[in-house]
Amino acid sequence: MKRVLIFSLLTISVIFSACQKVIDVDLNSADPKLVIEFLLGDSMAPYTLKLTRTVDYFDGGVVPQVSGAVITLTDDLGNSEQLTEVQPGRYITGFTQAVAGRTYFLNVTVDGETYSATSRTPSEVPLDTIYGEYVPPFFGNVAGYVTTAGFTDPAAEVNYYRQRVYINGELQDTAGIFYLVDDRLSNGRYLQFPLFPIFAELNDTVEVEMWSIDKPAYDYYTTLEDIATDGGAASASPGNPVTMMSGGALGYFITGSVSRARYVVQ
């Protein structure tokens, strides 16, 4: 829906030949906030948690890493482990992996402040189709093969998904598009959509992984997507993504079940 509007706006801008220039804007400075990034999958442990802080918008440097945090991960069966800091701001799990149906609790203590978050892991939904389609160049886009991965949405539950694409083993940067889908208007249907604009070439190996996630995670990603590409300029009231952390931290704690499918472009 939103994409339709953006597309229309883009077309209009092209027609009226909009002009762009970098300008100086005087922005206030903001008190630094803790940022937590932790995506916990169901295989391929260990998983990494990143701790950083916000900086002023026009601060020229990289974001600061946060060391010395005490981080525990607990599940609803009472299993618990403490994450280990392997380099400044990077903390890894032991053998904990997300298990469908369980709920996980994350606790981060840094500089005497405590932040916590909860995530439930939904069941895996298998991808059963994957293919590429050749898309000719238009509007300045390069030509290439666009991948589509399909699956059947389970009718009995409310589902939320996110797809990610690897080409030759490398996670593709999608400039703020998260390939999110829910089953609000598609419950129980066969779902597939082209992962545009990720282009693969002949003989590339393309793998799609699909994360089944819970509603807070989906809401987080959709609200992040709203502001990630253009700073929210197209919205009348841009805001921070929905909060997943108690204690006033930014970022996310998301667990999910992952299914995968791959093909070689021919």
């Binding site: 300008i23 804007v25 918008y57 440097g61 703020g176």
Partner: protein, 779 residues
Amino acid sequence: MYLSIKRLFTGVFCVLGFAAQAQNSTVSGEVRDASTGESLIGVVITMAGKPSMGATSNAYGFYSLTLPQGQVTLVARFIGYENDTQRLNLTSNQKLNFNLKPIGKDLKAVEITDTKENDNLTKPQMGTTKLDMKEISVIPVLLGEKDILKTIQLLPGVKAAGEGNSGFYVRGGGADQNLILLDEATVYNASHLLGFFSTFNSDAIKDVTLYKGGMPAEYGGRLASVLDVRMRDGNDKQFGVEGGIGAISSRLTIDGPIVKEKGSFIISGRRTYADMFLKLSPDSTLNSSKLYFYDLNAKLNYRLGDKDRIFLSGYFGRDNFGFAETFGFDWGNATGTLRWNHIYNDKLFSNTSLIFSNYDYRINLTAGENTFGISSGVKDWNFKQDFHYFPRNGISIKTGVNVNYHTFLPGKVTAGEASSFTPTEFDLQYALESAVYLQNDHQINPRLAMSYGIRVSMFNILGNGNVYRYDGEGNVTDTTNYNRGEIVETYYGFEPRFSMSYLINEKNSVKFSYNRSQQYIHLLSNSTTSTPTDLWIPSSVNVKPQTGDQIAGGWFHNFKENMYEFSSELYYKTLINQIDYRNGAELTLNENVEGELLSGKGRAYGAEFLIRKRKGKLTGWVGYTISRTERKFTQINDNTWFPARQDRLHDVSVVAIYQLGEKWTFSGAFVYYTGNAVTFPSGRYTVDGLTVPYFTERNGYRMPDYHRLDFGATYYPKKANKRWKRYESNWNFSVYNIYGRQNAFLINFRESATNPDQTEAVQVSLFRWIPSVTYNFKF
């Protein structure tokens, strides 16, 4: 004490008794354009030598004036027309029509003869502006598409919604708080092409009146303003053709009599043709793409004898946007009005209208066998009965009822077998919006005039399907199922309207007004520009009706024999039950959209100044507004007052029109305003390698100040052909943003393309030096 009360009574008795003592008769009739037979709205008819004895023609050109018997001379005056003076010996009730001759290009007619042209001082209405359609045709606009909505934006108190946008804000209200009427039918989305053009084809329009305050009781349903647009009736004397060929569109209007001087018709169309050029492209995706809009206005009217007249008018407009065979998006309004005017007697005029209004949009996607469509809209069936009663000189009473049946289609998803989507139709929502009103325009004495009235409005939400209730977090707490037609909830409101003017002397007057209005339907829109998918929703158990109160006071001054008009108005406005959205609100195709809404309050205040020169070779105005518009929501900015998006401290507009001889008219328009309040990030952070903006407050920053100068010239060639005596034409040239100011349309915050650790603000600007040429003709 006793004495003063007695004196007061005597005074009142004198005022009321004056008319009763003399022998009176009523003169009534219609005011028309002498060349076309069009009825004229708002023509002032006064008794020569006694300017307080007067009447104004109503929306159908009818007037009624009760005067002492004897020799009287009546003068009818109207902007752009020569005065029509008629003498009569009034001995009994009498019918008298005025036929006003339009002032041609011949400037000699614009002599300052009448010194009583100070209606702007003596009428109690404040914040009311009537647009001169001739002015609209020469004021320069974007791409030469003359546009009433863009012209009203040049008035103080009215602000453009954005660069080149036809949306507007009035005195701190939102774009959805303007009631836009075309022949009494609500136009729900008055813009084309994402707001760059309005739905009004000026060729088909006779009269435009904007009420930004002191709204008469006959109007209701929106908080900020009423824009009452009336279509032309068509020439009932002879056939005429009129049209224009412009940079982006062409127009054609045909009008003429059905039966001479009894009935006439008009049909007027406009279509853009940007997509015609796409057809020339060799690229198959481009040449099968569509991007156009059209408007079609049509109207018929017929007089059944002296006392009855019927009208049928309609408007259809649509935008069509398509990309190859895969994507289609179209939206538009359709309205229809069936009207019956009846004159019961010299003093009682009646209008009965049956009005239809519809707005909808459709989106279609086709990818092989996979088809998918979305549609949504709103539809009204509206019945109106108005009486206009003129019991005696100085009193003009309007009363009526209005019943409007709304049907809302929140959303419908169609999908083919192979589609990923489930065909879904959200429950239609029904509501009945009704009102009764009573209003009196009362000339108490030659100096003091009042207009007072009340509107009582009611809104019944009618059942059909599930009604949800939400907690403070927007979660559903209760679901109740209602049968079709069952009353779910009823809201009502008393809306007092009052305005008065006191004429201090021939050159000065002061005015005051207070009014309250209720708004029962709401527009959900979360983007910076008007979009076709903006959704109208009715009030509900969760969404309360909006209420607005406005008080205003003003000083009006004319000088140099009414050549210049100066006005200053101060206003203060409070708004309750205003709508905003939760973070990340999903507004389209969401059954629980009401859970995404926040409710808060608003206030707006300001001062507006206008100097206007109405006569002479150079005409135009300078307007300046200083104002504040704020909102307060529990969940936003810690429940403190924050500036609304349309909050602009300063707003200046200058319009000048200069007539050089008989062949050229030059015009210029300059606007300057403080940038909108906007939300910018204060910090940034990194998530999954992406740079993410960190916001600390809503609307805490400002867009850069906006300014622009437009220039226009109209050339009227000499009539070349003697056989084509009636053929008139002109060339209109204009340049939009002549000094090429790069005004900010958007400011994007993003990673620098060259260094991902650096961030930058990128300003997007749209229109600079946009020239256009339009050829207009008429015969």
